[in-house]
């Protein structure tokens, strides 16, 4: 009896795994099949590098969105990466292990907060602050960068902590025994030894930032233009798809799928480089 139930379970799990995988694969194939022909028809350069996005007139240049996505992401990294790495260093080196064991899971929990909540806080708190103190409409590139910078913190902190903790204790002891302070040890031995893991955490976080949609739509203002300053509203690639997919038809719809293909490729590249950096480290050990 147990043997047959074992077999049934195995088949069942296989079927589940297979259908989950094939669903993902189908989605990928669908996006590419919808988007790729459009890119070839419309022209790769015209699509990526023209600033005219006017679906009614048949103009589909996503350059403003590409630039906006780039800026919002870079801004988020400029805020999130130093904060996240500093947080990881603080938690591993300057806080008792027992406290760290409590704080780390709580930080990881933050990654589970729905992005609409982050967006809501951005609209209610952050945007007014920016409007009142820095000027502009408030809903802006800066607001997007700050919210995204906060949203990627759990990813960076958690993976960085893991890679800092993976640095052999003997390195630390050797450094301290030579009269180095804890801070010197972090800077000269621990961080260099953990750098590939930290780099991977930053790249993965970048993937998250590029792909984030809801919070970004809520706080960036969504006007299609190349931003002149951080206080101006912008529209990212993801926001563009989400905002227009509801009513798009024909060429317009295909252009949005093509935008999805661009995002897909960028995020694939980021994820592959993250795992490549990680593998490099394993190979070196």
């Amino acid at each position: 009896m147990p043997v047959t139930s074992e077999k049934i379970m195995q088949r069942l799990l296989l079927a589940v795994a297979f259908s989950a995988l094939s669903a993902l694969l189908l989605i990928a194939v669908f996006i590419i099949s919808q988007g790729l022909p459009f890119i070839f028809r419309y022209g790769f350069r015209e699509f990526l590098f023209s600033s005219q996005w006017n679906p009614q007139a048949g103009k589909f240049g996503i350059f403003p969105m590409v630039v906006s996505t780039l800026w919002v992401t870079l801004g988020a990294m400029a805020i999130g990466a130093p904060l996240g790495v500093a947080g990881a260093v603080f938690l591993t080196e300057f806080v008792p292990r027992t406290v760290m064991r409590i704080i780390k899971p709580s930080i990881e929990l933050l990654a589970g907060i729905p992005s609409v909540v982050y967006g809501f806080i951005g609209v209610m708190v952050l945007a007014p602050l920016i409007r009142d103190h820095l000027g502009g409409p408030g809903l802006s590139l800066l607001a997007g960068s700050i919210i995204l910078g906060i949203m990627i913190l759990p990813t960076i902190i958690s993976i960085s902590i893991d890679s800092i903790m993976a640095v052999p204790k003997s390195y630390r002891e050797g450094s301290l025994a030579l009269g180095a302070t804890v801070w010197q040890t972090v800077r000269m031995v621990t961080l260099p030894a953990a750098r590939s893991g930290i780099a991977a955490s930053i790249i993965l976080a970048m993937g998250r930032a590029v792909g984030e949609t809801m919070a970004v739509i809520m706080v960036t203002g969504n006007s299609v233009k190349i931003p002149g300053s951080a206080l101006e509203p912008v529209r990212t690639l993801t926001a563009n798809i989400a905002l227009e997919m509801g009513y798009a038809t024909g060429m317009h719809r295909q252009a949005l799928f093509a935008t999805g293909v661009v995002l897909f490729v960028v995020i694939m590249i980021l994820n592959f480089s993250a795992s490549y950096v990680m593998r490099q480290r394993k190979a070196r050990r």
Binding site: S175, A180, V189
Partner: protein, 251 residues
């Protein structure tokens, strides 16, 4: 003979477990002192008390005194980083940093704020020579230290220590991962270094203690059972427990 370090009634607790019990012992200037005893008796713990490496472990409590040149290193006012520059340590497993050989050797100087290229170069050469590594390594100073064979790694750790010119060198079973030839070389090196440095070595190997040390302490279950000149301790111990251990009836 001058006492470089004097340990007085030192107790150490890991949480509620007492690992050192009222240990007292002298460490004489420019002599080699060996700590012997069965596994778990507290040799490493005692050694790590001398440069306050036990401070890194939470839940450690220490009472009693350890005087370095007459000053208690457990005073509140002790500059711990300064202490560790004076009392350096070589670990059981070679632990070079994942940096080039050169950077390993000058690490202690960089930490101390020295950045003058010429000083660093000179110190690197001098220290590597003192650890008998210069001839083998002088052409590959910029290769990673991790790629060296273990015995060279261990002597590199010694060179890295000599670069900061400590007064005392603590060695915790420095030869346990080395083969007999490499071990002999390290022992010979220790005898050479004795001219300038005070050395305390923990060893499991009684022949090694007998060969290199001038003084020995025999520890058991956190207590210092007997301390004396190595010659006497090994040929004519005053304690029955020591004799049992030396003659191999126990341990």
């Amino acid at each position: 003979m001058d006492q470089k370090i004097e340990i007085k009634d030192l107790d150490l607790f890991y949480g509620s477990f007492q690992a050192l019990k009222a240990v007292s012992m002298p460490v004489y200037d420019r002599q080699i002192t060996a700590l012997i005893g069965p596994s778990g008796c507290g040799k490493s713990t005692l050694l790590r008390c001398l440069n306050r490496m036990n401070d890194l472990i939470s839940e450690v409590r220490i009472t009693g005194r350890a005087l370095l040149d007459g000053v208690n290193i457990y005073d509140r006012s002790t500059d711990v980083e300064g202490l560790r520059k004076r009392v350096g340590m070589v670990f059981q497993r070679p632990n070079p940093f994942p940096l080039p050989i050169y950077e390993n050797v000058v690490y202690g100087l960089r930490v101390a704020g020295e950045n003058d290229k010429k000083t660093l170069d000179q110190t690197a050469e001098k220290s590597l020579k003192a650890a008998w590594l210069w001839d083998q390594l002088k052409d590959k100073l910029h290769q990673p230290a991790i790629s060296l064979p273990l015995d060279q790694q261990q002597r590199l750790c010694l060179a890295r220590l000599l670069a900061v010119e400590p007064e005392v060198i603590l060695m915790d079973e420095p030869c346990s991962s080395l083969d007999p030839i490499a071990t002999a070389k390290v022992e010979e090196l220790m005898l050479e270094l004795k001219k300038d440095y005070t050395i305390v070595i923990v060893t499991h190997n009684m022949q090694q203690a007998a060969r290199v040390s001038d003084f020995s302490g025999y520890m058991l279950l956190g207590e210092m059972i007997e301390f004396g000149e190595t010659k006497t301790l090994f040929t004519n111990p005053s304690q029955k427990l020591t004799e049992d251990y030396i003659t191999g009836r126990f341990g």
